[in-house]
Symmetry: C2
Subunit: 155 residues, 2 copies
């Protein structure tokens, strides 16, 4: 579980960003971010909608998608997950990367100093200027592997 304190810190940062950038800090936006910041599972838009609806029953699909785009564009949240599935979101802006299970779509966080320290290859500098990195390790999670064992029988 993510500490309430940290969630509120992210929300406060967002409210500050709004003030600086002349964007309105609405109830809807705040609750969407609060929901996402309190989750460790990198939920998709639909899941976020369902959860925020518990607190704001009349919130619309449009607002969810529009807000997620807004937050992403301002760098408050990030879009994660592989192309084959629907978009997933992440309010954790600390530098980290993801492990994705190709079976159940579970997404886990990890850090790697080694990875973060790699310089941008010259080849890339010639293509353009790099502003962000996205690293995703793909495989089968523990849970899915065990499930496969039970079904097919052990090795």
């Amino acid at each position: 579980m993510i500490p309430r304190q940290q969630v509120e810190k992210r929300v406060a940062e967002f409210l500050e960003t709004c003030r600086r950038q002349g964007v309105k800090a609405t109830h809807q936006r705040t609750e969407i971010l609060r929901e996402l910041a309190g989750s460790e599972e990198h939920p998709d838009a639909e899941t976020i909608l369902a959860r925020v609806r518990k607190r704001i029953p009349a919130i619309s699909v449009d607002t969810i998608y529009r807000t997620l785009r807004l937050l992403e564009d301002r760098g408050v949240i990030a879009r994660v997950g592989s192309m084959r599935d629907r978009a997933r979101f992440d309010a954790n802006t600390d530098r980290h990367h993801h492990f994705v299970c190709t079976e159940c779509e579970m997404i886990g966080d990890f850090c790697s100093d080694a990875m973060d320290r790699i310089p941008v290859p010259l080849e890339v500098s010639e293509m353009g200027s790099v502003e962000g990195v996205y690293v995703e390790l793909r495989g089968i999670c523990r849970k899915c592997k065990q499930k496969a064992m039970k079904t097919k029988g052990p090795t």
Copy 2:
């Protein structure tokens, strides 16, 4: 431009894979792969469809998508590009990574031994078994940067 020879090598490999896996090597599949293997731009499904239609006018949308999924599942091609845009495809199976321009969606290839040598963090091994890596550097390409210069004026 990609040498004809290399394109045909990839096509031949695919035909071999078909034989081994008991999948039919149809004209449609062959032409879709040939088109993709001959392109350096990581085209999307729609683009591939339009191009293959020049040679097989009656080919259907279904066949394009079904075939792309088949090829991806067999590891013959890969799906690339970031979540915000439509899926893009790549028939280059040599280990490499991508630079993506967030402005014009241009996708360029690059290699990085440093990146490929990084061991999987323990943290990740505990989550599951890693079977693939996807690395994407994001930024603004040269062309888009120059365009921005002309519009807004230089620094």
